[in-house]
Symmetry: D2
Subunit: 342 residues, 4 copies
Amino acid sequence: MIGIGVVGYGYWGPNLVRNFNEVPDARVRKVCDLRSDRLALARQRYPTVEATTDYRGLLDDPAIDAIVIATPVSTHGEFALQALQAGKHVLVEKPMTATSDEAVRLIDEAERRRCVLMVDHTFVYTGAVRRIQELIASNALGQINYYDSVRVNLGLFQHDINVVWDLAVHDLAIMDYVLGPKPYAVAATGMSHVPGQPANIAYLTLFFEANLIAHINVNWLAPVKVRRTLIGGSRRMVVYDDVEPSEKVKVYDKGIQLANTAENLYKLLISYRTGDMWAPQLDMTEALKTEAQHFIRCIEDRVPVITDGEAGLRIVGILEAATQSLAERGRLVELDRAQVRS
Amino acid sequence: MIGIGVVGYGYWGPNLVRNFNEVPDARVRKVCDLRSDRLALARQRYPTVEATTDYRGLLDDPAIDAIVIATPVSTHGEFALQALQAGKHVLVEKPMTATSDEAVRLIDEAERRRCVLMVDHTFVYTGAVRRIQELIASNALGQINYYDSVRVNLGLFQHDINVVWDLAVHDLAIMDYVLGPKPYAVAATGMSHVPGQPANIAYLTLFFEANLIAHINVNWLAPVKVRRTLIGGSRRMVVYDDVEPSEKVKVYDKGIQLANTAENLYKLLISYRTGDMWAPQLDMTEALKTEAQHFIRCIEDRVPVITDGEAGLRIVGILEAATQSLAERGRLVELDRAQVRS
Amino acid sequence: MIGIGVVGYGYWGPNLVRNFNEVPDARVRKVCDLRSDRLALARQRYPTVEATTDYRGLLDDPAIDAIVIATPVSTHGEFALQALQAGKHVLVEKPMTATSDEAVRLIDEAERRRCVLMVDHTFVYTGAVRRIQELIASNALGQINYYDSVRVNLGLFQHDINVVWDLAVHDLAIMDYVLGPKPYAVAATGMSHVPGQPANIAYLTLFFEANLIAHINVNWLAPVKVRRTLIGGSRRMVVYDDVEPSEKVKVYDKGIQLANTAENLYKLLISYRTGDMWAPQLDMTEALKTEAQHFIRCIEDRVPVITDGEAGLRIVGILEAATQSLAERGRLVELDRAQVRS
Amino acid sequence: MIGIGVVGYGYWGPNLVRNFNEVPDARVRKVCDLRSDRLALARQRYPTVEATTDYRGLLDDPAIDAIVIATPVSTHGEFALQALQAGKHVLVEKPMTATSDEAVRLIDEAERRRCVLMVDHTFVYTGAVRRIQELIASNALGQINYYDSVRVNLGLFQHDINVVWDLAVHDLAIMDYVLGPKPYAVAATGMSHVPGQPANIAYLTLFFEANLIAHINVNWLAPVKVRRTLIGGSRRMVVYDDVEPSEKVKVYDKGIQLANTAENLYKLLISYRTGDMWAPQLDMTEALKTEAQHFIRCIEDRVPVITDGEAGLRIVGILEAATQSLAERGRLVELDRAQVRS
């Protein structure tokens, strides 16, 4: 039985508590938050879980094996570091940390302590994203030409991070999981429409070697919720629409074929291929349930962590570069390969 | 009765002929194309219209008052210039010309000859775009914060122009019509997935003074057809989805409100406003019919041309700058204000 | 503080427990079910709630003021009667009972005991249905011409009740709430595709005095989930699509206008009116939360019960008549007005 | 070269003329209508086609081999009979005639004259319906359990026929083509909301031997256009949505499986099967083009007529029975098998 302590019972924390509460091998022991109304809510829902303002009490509790962190981004690094130093396993909400330096430090500390360090890249644990990963890995899509995502809605304006850190992080985590190659540079444009606040709209282009390009469109100020990703392969293409209640992943047998004409070697013939569409059945288990189970298995059975610290670091690196590019109206910013260490 | 000569009977030409054929004050006299099969088709459909390979014959025909040009972009400039020099009014398919220099020359020639010069920015003549223009002009949306368009499908690869010239031109024409301010710079990224061919995927960011930003996502290699534009205003927001059979324009009474708290002048309170949605009834007349009638009225009554040579030039200028930026992975390219002459 | 006992912790019971658990003035004291795995689940989720197989223990417990019944339909009558006889208030899942006779008996018993008797017609407590009720009551739609609902999916085949009792009951409950007039007869067709089992597909027509007709299409064997209701009024029409994540209710300013021509009194001119569409903002509170709060208020403040026993009885009467008509391939079955007592 | 005369140039006639005009082996010679404005429109579009009010002139013209009838339903029988008597082949718009008697007479006359008699059941010639027919014929769906169609919109109120003759005729024609078995009885309910006018809303249930049931919902007074058919088979199910621009036909690998448990022979176990969805690519040729080509081939090559007089008669027979049932609030009306002659 793995004892869990959760720090942060705001927007996401309750989902973590609810899911860990139903994993057979885990038990939530304590919930920590500074706000008394949030603690009262936790107590009403889970009368047997201790609700406290004292984070140190979680770290010192031998019945707690792992710390789950769902606090503001700026605090991730410090909370996680203390937990690792106390010998606790750590699951930290995305993005992993506010800086690459902090991410590197957590990775090093986890290795030293032989603790599990996992980042809550939730979408990676959905049936949809796992199915897309399989389609790409099995070469069913052929060579990937582009990855193009729109993720917009009328969202909660964050005061401490811009929309890239809040929303694009999801797409970067999905891309990191489903695509083989990693990007070498990023160009980002965007704008803040609220004086003195971080950018609430942003457009990222990610450059890869070979024939691949990626683009992410994120916006806190959109009237409708859009969660649509197009993935273009040389053999087939995917539309992943997370707003659809069913058939979230559609595979299109569409594309182009290239041929050189006999008469004229210099003229390229492009012909179009439009075939059937196919929507594979997906595992509809709640992602966080799958993720919670995986975290427990990583602790108990030492299976490799899917969304590990290195993945978290790669994404923080891109977020930093994108924020820099955004401030310079789209100037191309190279990603530091040494640091990314992929 | 205005006599019309049409040059180019490929993809778009038949739509032009069909619509001009039903305008009461116009009559299509001749259709010109170099391909005998296209001429045969024109003859079968319109036995009384002369189908010819001789463009000069159109220019010399006194029964022809206006030339409608639906040929490849690279030929627009020369065909239009000859027509104007022959004293004919000209309607030229988008984009107006292959270069800004050609566009300027046509504007000058039309002024000198006192001929009507109109660009076929078709979408400007749809009920949807006209309604959006009214909403913005009447301040129903408040100050415009962003314009964000996705225009993708499995499209005809062009060999002479990239996807920006083929698809983004529509969005640029709509923006030019509905937005007051004009952009001062453009950054574009994209890629060609077919060796030796122009870019088939592109992302444009347009920078404006004040609080406005625009973005256009165009792609010839998408499995689904998307034609969706979000326009964010400070008072209301619009979703314009041209693929919808009805309710193409939806107006959302959504947004944010800003207030400074009394206790703390430095902390900005952002509150969310979500109200009703409203889909105004639209004029569903075929755009090309409205446009053909407008062209005839411009000739007969000398009303101002809505999509005139200056609009055409502004857009060609942006297309040139975007193509340049695209080649340099998103480098910001300033738009030449002198030339744009807006 | 109102003490609650819940009987039945299968599909719907957990939703009832979860919602009553968050109503400030209520506390769930006991959960009763015969299945030990369900009791174990209840205990895991709510360690402080007593999970028991002993229904009598709920009735005898003075800390329990109200019984919430979420068991198979055939048991509703007996469980509810015992609860009322024990002086407990009752909330019973839809349909209220398996027969009209049972429903009448519950109504009488509740009156005698001065207990609250409420039926869980959940949809009546949604923001969407409440908005539709307001639109109709305020005459915004004009005179109602028809009510037409499709409610189909690949659903759980019930062994004890047919699809009318399982699905059409929702539409009947909504109609009972939003429409003024009550139907006088029903004709139903349908079929069972599983030998020896109740009908899994059914079509109901409900006849009303005046100009109103209603139709309900229910099906357990459909590949897609459809929840769409059209309501046609003389002034405006409504589309209520419960599968839509947002904009569930759309009001169309569409219809026809009738006029007699001057020349010919016998010829009726029908002209079409197509105007704007409008989607009012809806209260998105979970229906069961609103309903649980209403039940507590009915007990504490004796406010009138919205979905009371009479409403439950009216609907059971229609379900009985529809089942009879179904067995006779659509024979018109009059509804017993005396019994319906509306 | 088959010479064509078209009678009726109202709503549907122009589509027939346009399509026959592009069939290589056919030529439209004359268009007949009593309204001078319609004739003027025909002349403007087709200056070489003779537009006339004299139907007799079409029948007497030796250059006309076939008559295409697109006039009000009440006149179909007489126009078609005269054409057949003059030795002309006939294509008549749906429904074939106003009565079964007329339909029988046309079939007999066509046999006697050895003329082609074809009914314009347009949907039968769409790629979607042909694909569905293939799926059913190849047993890909298994045994068909139900056919359920909704066909509603704010439509043109007809003064001479009710909504069943106007809209349900399409579904009956499709069913007649794709389903093997024919119905033995019909029950219909509905209503007229305009005094003195035919029913504008109707619900039909069609009864078949074995396990099959069909239902059709038609409505001229709906705020939105719906064209959705569900076809439930024992192996797979189909959703055919004609309003969708692409993917009109979706095949769901969904259903139920039945098994008797070992312990208890009387208890049936129903398990659910939910698998992939698949949207086959469809031939998107305009149906009327395919149909016009088929009509010409029937004349030239004497291939069997797909939508022949017998099909037309079967459908008229159902329309008559449905109208009768409608007048008696859903009374079951047996279909006259002798007359239907299938």
